[in-house]
Symmetry: C2
Subunit: 106 residues, 2 copies
DNA sequence: CAGTTATATGCCAGTCAAGGAATGCAGACG
DNA sequence: CGTCTGCATTCCTTGACTGGCATATAACTG
């Protein structure tokens, strides 16, 4: 269960920003740092955490290290959310039903 | 965007355990503490964080404070996951296609 | 090989969250 | 009103994480 590593990785706002940024396309470290307003060392460290959580993969291109998103671990989160999503949906349903019952004064 | 509070709240394993526990049914603080192997003060603190993230609601019953799960904030997470889920699914699709192509040696 | 670019790492100081023990507080109950 | 129960809050200590800076490392360039 490196589930913990995944949560920890995504708990940080900067790292979520990186992940979101990589959603667009893979990028080298420097570019990531710039876009997220991070120093290069800081970006490197965050990327390390993301790598160890399996969220990011590296491809070496000359001196550059192009980091790409790996969405696979997100599936674990998705699975974790499952039961709550059910609850949430049924709550919405209940709300909808109640709204329907009272909807004559809309 | 108290999105951050939500992530922070769920980043902690104990709090995830509490949330999972409350999935079953609402419970008073003492019960939660016992089930999660937490001291009473610790449980109280974690519940406070969960409350402030909107994940938990309290109903007062005599001296007891019965905490119940509120799955609504989870929707935010779900929304955040959306784009990644797409990617993930398409990756699966791609994998499936590749497996199909090579599936004569199954 | 010397120099430059792109990135990783080590070290340090500041910050913050977590756990434990003790205490405060409100409701129940005789 | 005194007491007990259930929970919240405070204080304190400790460990973890973060950022910055300096430095090491690796790969390209001439």
């Amino acid at each position: 269960m490196s589930d913990a590593a995944l949560w920890t990785a995504l708990a940080d706002p900067h790292r979520r920003a990186i992940v979101t940024l990589l959603l667009e396309r893979p990028r080298p470290v420097g570019e990531i740092a710039e876009h997220c307003g991070l120093s290069q060392p800081s970006a490197s460290k965050h990327l390390k955490v993301l790598r160890e959580a399996g969220l990011v993969r590296v491809r070496q291109d000359a001196q550059r290290r192009v980091h790409a998103l790996d969405p696979a671990p997100i599936a674990a989160l998705d699975a974790w959310l499952e039961p709550y999503r059910r609850l949430w949906n049924s709550s919405l349903d209940a709300l909808g039903r109640r709204l329907d019952e009272t909807s004559d004064d809309t």
